[in-house]
């Protein structure tokens, strides 16, 4: 079975002044794949996500989605079909759970200002459809009972779920998850795994940044490792786990007994 390429990243480089945060990274994500992106803190993973979603304009390189090069404008990237969540939760705190998801639906609804003001049938239908779709996503993520709660009053784990529901509301073909299990306990992490599989079963590809190795290796078809802005290896679990550069990056160089101190694990 050949998978069609959804996301095609070529040679993306991001420099901030003299600092190269992301250096010549290539990455592809195929239809229906779950791809992991791991690396030590400060490796440039989130910067890479920001380049993909148009929040940063890459210094070099291109990001294509379904064969078209994406313009570095976040709202156009979303419209093209890429949605994301954030490492530090960024919900609209003063809106209800349902309203957050409705905002996520923005690109997939059309509403003429005039038809809204006149409350024409088109407006009513669009509004009803949006609510129905939003409620379906809240059911999917298990938040339906809390649709009318203010999002800032949700417990942490549910806020993470709401971010995912909001991202799914834009009907993406590719979902980028930035550390979805950060701060979660083991049970919540297992539930998050189930959720990611369920998202894939809806036909949505997933690119996920994580620190939890078990989570990554349970989920991902392939995993890429980013160290100091460079992709040093990409492949399945065995390839990544047996790669010496990965071990060095995570655990430091092995102690060779000659007295020269191995560099400390860079956590």
């Amino acid at each position: 079975m050949t998978t069609t390429t959804l996301l095609d990243v070529r040679g993306v480089t991001m420099r901030f002044g003299g600092l190269t945060a992301v250096n010549q990274v290539d990455l592809t994500v195929g239809q229906g794949e779950i791809i992991g992106l791991i690396g030590p803190n400060g490796a440039g993973k989130t910067t890479f996500f920001n380049c993909l979603t148009g929040l940063y304009v890459p210094t070099e390189g291109t990001v294509s989605y379904r064969g078209t090069i994406l313009p570095p404008k976040p709202h156009l990237v979303t419209r093209a079909g890429i949605a994301r969540t954030f490492q530090n939760i960024r919900l609209f705190a003063n809106m209800t759970v349902l309203e957050n998801v409705l905002v996520g639906r923005h690109t997939r609804t059309r509403e003429g200002l005039l038809s809204a003001v006149l409350r024409g049938p088109g407006y009513r239908r669009a509004e009803a459809e949006s609510r129905e779709k939003a409620m379906e996503l809240l059911e999917f993520t298990g938040l339906a009972a809390k649709a009318d709660h203010l999002s800032r009053n949700l417990p942490y784990g549910e806020q993470r779920k709401l971010e995912i529901a909001r991202a799914l509301a834009s009907d993406p073909g590719l979902l980028l998850l930035d550390e979805p299990t950060a701060g979660m306990n083991p049970q919540e992490t297992r539930a998050a795994e189930e959720l990611v599989f369920a998202i894939r079963d809806r036909g949505i590809s997933v690119l996920v940044i994580e620190h939890d190795m078990r989570f990554i290796f349970n989920l991902c078809d392939r995993t890429a490792v980013l160290v100091q802005g460079q992709k040093i290896v990409e492949g399945d679990r065995e390839t990544v786990q047996s790669d010496e550069r990965v071990i060095t990056a995570y655990l430091g160089a092995p102690f060779d007994g000659t007295g020269s101190t191995a560099s400390e694990a860079e956590k």
């Binding site: 960024r90 923005h106 690109t107």
Partner: protein, 309 residues
Amino acid sequence: MNELPQQLANGLILGALYGLVAIGYTMVYGIVQLINFAHGEIFMVGGFGALTAYLALPGGTTLWLAVPLMLAAGITVSTLVAVGAERFAYRPLRGAPRLAPLITAIGLSIVLQQLVFSFYPDAKKAKVFPKIPGDAFQVLGMTIQRSDLFLIVAAPVCMIILGWFVNRTRSGRAMQATSQDPDTAKLMGIDTDRIIVLAFAIGAAFAAVAAVAYGLRTGQVDFRMGFILGLKAFTAAVLGGIGNIYGAMVGGLVLGLAEGLATAYIQHLPGMHLFGGGAWKDVWAFVLLIVVLLARPQGLLGERVADRA
């Protein structure tokens, strides 16, 4: 004191005028954290737009026809000027330090005043604006001028439409999202540049409605009229809690009432006989602002929010 109902009515009418203009300050601030000091002049050009439409109409046109046309013209002129200002003066400075757009706003305000002063025919002195003729109404001991009826109807209608727009429509939700977190809003597919234009346009349209009301009420428009009224409306926005649209109207009404009541009654307080009357009304307005801000720095309906850097 049997003139109390009258003073309340005067205060509320004036306050509604402040409130309509204050909406423009508060919406723009809520979205881009900019105090648009040119907003008073957006109000002023709306008045001149309406006047131009009136002068273009054949003499003897009934006001039932003239007022809607004046309103349409005023709204068009104000909105075009505000959207143009956003596009060519403020947008290039997006991301610049905050003082840059603030100074630009002050500059723009002077430019607009001088353009009207220099190029609008005979605008060096106040221009006569039509009034709605006929006797004043007597209601519950209050005398209401016919010209004020326009504002009494327009202000609540505008507020209801705005509240519904912001809370119930897709664009309104996009506007709230942009005001809470612009970057995330972009990633939800919201074209935030468009939302900013929309905020400027709505504020300008409300200012134009206020300008027509002001013209009808005072019987004149003048190129300086945006200055003190803009300052008062800005005060109202801060008083109500800047960034909050209902706060803007509440702040306007409170300010108008305070001015009306202070003008009428302060001089009757013992030892205060020198401080009453219209000449002191601006002083009392700003005293009220200071007192409220001492107790509630976020304004009457404002929420305490961390200042974004």
